[in-house]
């Protein structure tokens, strides 16, 4: 029975908690994923991302809380819901003694579809493995295994795709391929994608909504636009003498905007319209400026949030 019906909210997680003995891996986590989202799931190592994703896939039983997917309780409608989910969890492990074609066929059957030769070859074509369809997987590179893993995740045409660290172990070209594939899935095939990655710039380029968690708790959740306030930037300043420049800033009206140095650069949090005045102030004070760079990348934001410099909950629902 296909349960999927067009709806706005694909995933709804409420007060999800998972405890392993005394360790609380996920703590009262709530979030939702809307139809068509590319939902970026961020957090440092051990933040609880993989545990949460495994709970969404019924690999781990929650200690408490509720998960509903496609509007149905995951606990009660596990089989029907999983028919509409494709997943790659960390490493793309498949049966190494079988060929790509055999792996795909086997998992297609397990996903509840009756695979035809054309369907399987089309899928392998999509992930760029058609020419190696009948080679055993043990001869594949990491990137090829990853592509096969994605092929397996998509073989039954699921509505929701969950990718946990899909770019692990891939070279730059492989990472770019996965990014493009996610964009195709989202924009052309209208799939909803949840993707966790430690490569923040990758998430930044593809995610429509982002959740950042730390120690199992939600820090912020929102759209890219909400998270990156265009008016709020971090200015990365490169000068001839940092000490003189810092003394100058501390003596100015912008003393409270000074942030800790990073990689030898002075960092100042500023509103966009203040940058010209700030620049003039530094120059007028005799500071030799090599460069001023306004940054509002996800990496900067992520470091701010996880370091506790952002008010937690600013963008939370």
């Amino acid at each position: 029975m296909l349960l999927y019906k067009p709806m706005q909210q694909i995933v709804k997680v409420s007060q999800l908690t998972k405890q392993f003995n005394s360790l609380t891996a996920v703590n009262q986590l709530s979030f939702s994923v809307e139809s068509g989202d590319v939902y970026g799931f961020l957090g440092q190592n051990g933040a609880g991302k993989s545990t949460t994703i495994r709970m969404l896939l019924t690999l781990i039983t929650p200690t408490s809380g509720e998960i509903s997917i496609f509007g149905y309780d995951l606990n009660k409608h596990r089989k029907e819901i999983l028919q509409q989910i494709g997943a790659v969890i960390e490493k793309p492990d498949v049966y190494k003694y079988l060929s790509a074609y055999e792996n795909l066929k086997l998992f297609a059957k397990l996903s509840g579809v009756k695979p035809t030769n054309k369907m399987l070859m089309d899928q392998l074509e999509m992930v760029g493995l058609a020419s190696r369809a009948h080679d055993t997987v043990k001869t594949f590179s990491q990137g090829m295994k990853q592509r096969l893993g994605i092929g397996i995740a998509l073989v039954h045409n699921p509505q929701l795709i969950i990718l946990d660290e899909p770019t692990n172990g891939l070279d730059p070209q492989g990472i770019a391929d996965i990014r493009n594939l996610i964009l195709i899935l989202s924009r052309e095939m209208k799939k909803t994608v949840i993707v966790s990655s430690h490569l923040l710039n990758e998430i930044e380029q593809i995610a429509t909504r982002i959740l950042i968690i730390d120690k199992g708790r939600k820090l912020v959740e929102g759209t890219s636009a909400e998270l990156f306030n265009d008016q709020q930037t971090i200015l990365q300043i490169s000068v001839a003498n940092n000490d003189i420049a810092i003394q100058t800033i501390q003596a100015s009206n912008w003393a409270s905007n000074l942030l800790p140095e990073r990689d030898g650069h002075i960092m100042v949090g500023l509103n966009k319209e203040d940058i010209p005045n700030f620049n003039r102030m530094l120059a007028a004070s005799g500071v030799d400026i090599y460069s001023l760079q306004a940054r509002h990348s996800l990496e900067d934001y992520f470091l701010q949030v996880t370091a506790g410099k952002q008010h937690v909950g600013t963008f939370t629902n």
Partner: protein, 291 residues
Amino acid sequence: MWEHLQIELYKVFKRPRTYLSFAAITALIGVIQLGLLVDGKEYADFVMADFANSFSVDGKILNGYFICYVILQLLLVHVPLLIALIAADMISGEANMGTLRILLTKPQSRTAIVMAKFIASVIYTLLLLIWIAIMGLFLSMLIFGTDDLFLMKSSYVVIVKESDVFWRYAGAFCFAALAMITVAALGFFLSFFAENSIGPIVATMSVIIVCTILSTMNIPLFNLIKPYLFTTHMITWKEFFDFKVNDANEAIIGSIQYPDKIIRSATVLAVHIVLFVGSAVWLFRKKDILS
């Protein structure tokens, strides 16, 4: 469930490791048959040494039925290792490869997954025993011919008429299948506790060795638990070759001396299978997949 079983069997028989067992059985039986073909007379003289002065025997002692009995006595000690090689790898091997987590994200119930895997182990075990029957019984019959089966017990001699032997082998193989399925169930159960294959395989063999020692040592403390150890009952297949005698001390064709012993042993083995597999299902349904 049927489709899942087909997939499990496909995976089992696509692995080169599976055929190692069949190759090992072929080699072992071949070596025994070759040895008895070349030096069989010396072996028969050695076996008959204690009886040589009591009576003489006409006909072929070293016939196919006798060879098969020797093979079964020797092999049924080693076959558990070959069974553990596959059964103890069923879950732990998937966890080790990382395929368990993909498998469990598919819309299949965990109970169905476990049962399909266990039934695949059972089919592998049965095929291995059928192969032993083909190599050990039928090939031996072909090479050594047939005659009455002459067996030396600790305090007596059993001569089973040629016409009365074959069904006893059928019964013995069926019972051996039950015993080996118990080994498969044990290996399968232990495979839930590890994320590599070696641990459960070694653990299965260790349990069998320890329980066999307990079963064979005649110490009062151990005698209390012996009836409950599956290893005590694994050798009950031999009971198929003991028959009842009439008042004239002649064998009653088609009889078994202690059928209740066979039934009791089969029941104990069946209970072990249910316990091992039931526990495996229960554990697997609750298991968090962290690998």
